[in-house]
Amino acid sequence: MESQITITSIIIIVWLIFPGVVFKRFYYKGQFAKQFGVGLFADRLITSIFWGIIVQIITFLIYSKYFGFTYTGIKSKVVTVYASVSSNKIPDISYDNLEYILGYLAFLIFTSFCLGSLFHFLIRYFKIDLKYPVFRFSNHWNYYFRGEIASMREFKSLKAGKWLTTMVDVVIEDGSENNKLISGFLTQHTISQKTGELEAIYLTGASRYSKNEGKFKPIPGDCVIIPFSKVIDLNLRYTFKVLTDEQKNTIKYDRITSLPFVTISLLIIVFPWFLKINAFLKILGILLGWLTWVMLLMLISNPFKPKDKLSSKMLWTLFVIMVVFLILTLLTLQITPSWEQIKNIF
């Protein structure tokens, strides 16, 4: 009975919870990283299992399509191994089977990483979290402090250009009867690892309101750290930069190129693992392929660049280098077309 519980627990942890945890690790990143470890244990466990199941289904569908195994095929092997383990015998696992299992496990983790990163990227890239509250991350301070609320429906009137800084007027409790009013530019904020709540804010160029003089007086020093527990009131004021047409086009250009860049980069990372070549060549192929893609994207996107366009001499140099890298990639991955195939093309 005990061994059954242990085996079941290990299976659930390795095949369901772990992929879910990896998924969440890469979904909650950047300024939202602390959300990963926040919340009730039961809640985190359930969400990990949920994402683990999704990742497991996707991995199974991809892996079975390319390696031709079926559910019944796996089940019979699992039943054999389980029968050996439950009767206290060492299961008879061949080297091929072991390679199969470890390969699947590695692919499972890689899928979790890709899906987590991709979901995060899509939600942030298309500003889905700003448009639909259900997708919003729990660090809501980030949206306020970075001026991202300007993209939300309820604050649409704020949108006046590109956000530069957030100035904050903060009333803090200092233990005396008179509270202090401090004003400054927000530079950083920290979030509690345990609760996910705001811990402290960091101000630069800060000044303190003097009641006697009736004006703000600069605070000597470079950075003022205010624990959030001392804060009574917080007033935020954003400063936006008015964008020129060229700057607007540059932002558009960056947004348009980043999506194919990430998508194709992911494909380049995944594709070589389906080829029958050794691991060193796969890694080298990924590196060369990715560099080729960077150069190709630079060539394709150059005519649409609003500024700093490459000269025709540089374009030709880049083109020649790109072709060399492309040939090296094809040779490394051993996917060069045969002479017969080339002849057929022409």
Partner: protein, 73 residues
Amino acid sequence: MGEIIKIITRAMGSFFVSYFDSDTDVMSDDAKKIFANEDDRKKYIEAVEKLKNSNTKEETIVLSNHEKVTLVS
């Protein structure tokens, strides 16, 4: 050739920075550049204070690299 390598390195660098960026900074990159230069920082703070304390809707400053920045608050 050196220029090409520089461009490729820059493109790769910006990708890795954007991917592994884990900051809790609440200041844009443009503002960080302004704050890194003492003169620009002074001009910027003065312009923001002006926007705060007057009815002016826009304030233009010229940075040390001759870039004109129009601010609104």
